[in-house]
Symmetry: C2
Subunit: 229 residues, 2 copies
C-alpha cells in the first residue's frame, strides 16, 4: 500500500450583489504557491475527529467562520489531480450570509462570482461546478437558500435569494405557496423592515428546528431544475 495524500477542501459560498460567489485564498505553499484556490489542507489525524471536523477547522482557521450549514459534497481523487502524487480530497460545501464573511475580517479571503472563476489549480474548477449544481438542485426542493440570508429577512428578500440561486424569476404566488408548504419560517413578532419608502414588511426567521436541517418538498419550486448526473 503506497501512501495517499488526504486533504479537505471547502466550497464556501455566499450571495453578494445578488450573485453567487465562492471564497478563494492565495495558496501559501507549493504546489501552486500564490495561486487562488479553495480553502483546504491536509487532514490532521492527530486533531480532527473525522473529515467533517477537519472541514470545520479549515473554515475556522482560513476564514474565521463557523458555518451553520456544512454538507459533504463528494470526494475527488486520483493520480492526476495533484503533482505531488495520488491524492484524494474530501470536499464540503457551506453557505453563509455575506456579512458573516465580512465580519470575520479575514482580509485574504477573495470572493469571486462563480461564473468568473478561472485558472484554479488541481481540479478546483470541477469541484466548484459540482458544488454549484448541488446547491441549485437542492434549493429547488428545500429551505437551503435561507442560509444565505441574515438572521431576519422579508419574504421578497428571500424570494430574491431563491431567484439568484436558481437563475430565473419565480412567480410570487407559487413562491409564497411553496414557502408555506416548507413550513420553515416564523414571523418575528413586532419586527418590521423599516427605512424604505414603501410600507414596512414583516420580518421572518428560520424555525429553530431547521437550523442544521433542511425542510424539504417533493415538488420543485421552479419548472424544471434538475441536472442529470
Amino acid at each position: 500500500m503506497s501512501s495517499i495524500i488526504c486533504t479537505i477542501d471547502v466550497v464556501l459560498m455566499t450571495l453578494k450583489n445578488s450573485v453567487l460567489h465562492v471564497a478563494l485564498l492565495k495558496r501559501d505553499h507549493a504546489p501552486f504557491v500564490g495561486v487562488l484556490a479553495l480553502p483546504g489542507g491536509y487532514i490532521h489525524a492527530e486533531d480532527d475527529v473525522d473529515t467533517r471536523d477537519a472541514a470545520e477547522r479549515t473554515l475556522r482557521e482560513k476564514a474565521g467562520i463557523v458555518s451553520p450549514y456544512l454538507e459533504q459534497l463528494a470526494t475527488f481523487s486520483g493520480r492526476a489531480r495533484d503533482p505531488r502524487g495520488w491524492s484524494l480530497s474530501v470536499v464540503y460545501y457551506a453557505l453563509v450570509p455575506n456579512d458573516v464573511i465580512a465580519a470575520a475580517s479575514h482580509l485574504e479571503v477573495v470572493l469571486m462570482p462563480i461564473d468568473k472563476v478561472r485558472g484554479l489549480p488541481f481540479d478546483h474548477q470541477k469541484i466548484i461546478e459540482t458544488a454549484v449544481r448541488r446547491v441549485r438542485d437542492k434549493s429547488a426542493y428545500s429551505s437551503l437558500p435561507v442560509y444565505l440570508c441574515g438572521e431576519l429577512f422579508t419574504l421578497p428578500q428571500l424570494q430574491g435569494v431563491y431567484e439568484a440561486i436558481l437563475g430565473e424569476p419565480i412567480n410570487k404566488v407559487s413562491f409564497r405557496r411553496k414557502i408555506e408548504e416548507l413550513d420553515m419560517l416564523e414571523a418575528v413578532e413586532g419586527a418590521m423592515e423599516t427605512g424604505k419608502a414603501h410600507r414596512p414588511a414583516q420580518l421572518y426567521r428560520l424555525k429553530p428546528r431547521y437550523s442544521q436541517h433542511l425542510s424539504l418538498t417533493d415538488r420543485a419550486l421552479n419548472a424544471k431544475s434538475l441536472t442529470s448526473h
Copy 2:
C-alpha cells in the same frame, strides 16, 4: 501528517423476491476476520486511477461483476470507525439485477435483505442505511430502479420494482404517466412476454442514452418520499 488508512467499500444492491438485498462477504483478514461485511479493501495507488476505478476493481474481484450503474455515496471517516487507526472509506453504491449476481457465481457473496442486516463491523450498518435512503430518495424522481430489472421487462414488472424500493403501492395510471414523462423506455418491436395465462405483455428496455445516466423528473412519483438530511 500521520498516515490515514484509505479504503473503498461498495454497497451492491439487488432485488430478490421483491425485497431489496445487499451483498455481503466474509472478511478474509483482520480485523473482524470471518465476519460478514461490505465488499471493500484498500485503495491501490499503484493500480487504481481514482476511487471510482478502485470501486470497479472491488466489484470485479470480489463479486465478479461489472455494474452498469455505480455512484459515489459518501466518504465515512474518523478515528473511531476502524480499530487499526484513523481511516476513511470512500463508498460507492451499485444496483444490478439479481441474475447478474447469480451468473457471476461468486458463491461467497451472501445476499441479505436490507432490514435483516445486523452486527456488521466498522460503520457498515450506517453506510448501508445511508445507501438505502439515497436509493429511495432518488428512485422517486428518476429512472434509477430500471438498473434492478433485467434487459427486458414489462411495465407491470417495472412498477413492481418501483413499489419494492419505495415501500408502498403506486397508482397504475400515475405510474404510467410518470414513466412516459421520464421518456426513458423503448418498446422492443415484436417482443412480448409469453408463457403466462393472461395475454402477452409488451417488453421494454432502457433507451441507450440513459445507460449510465439517469432520466430525472421534477415531481416525486409517490406522495412524500424525501427524508431530511
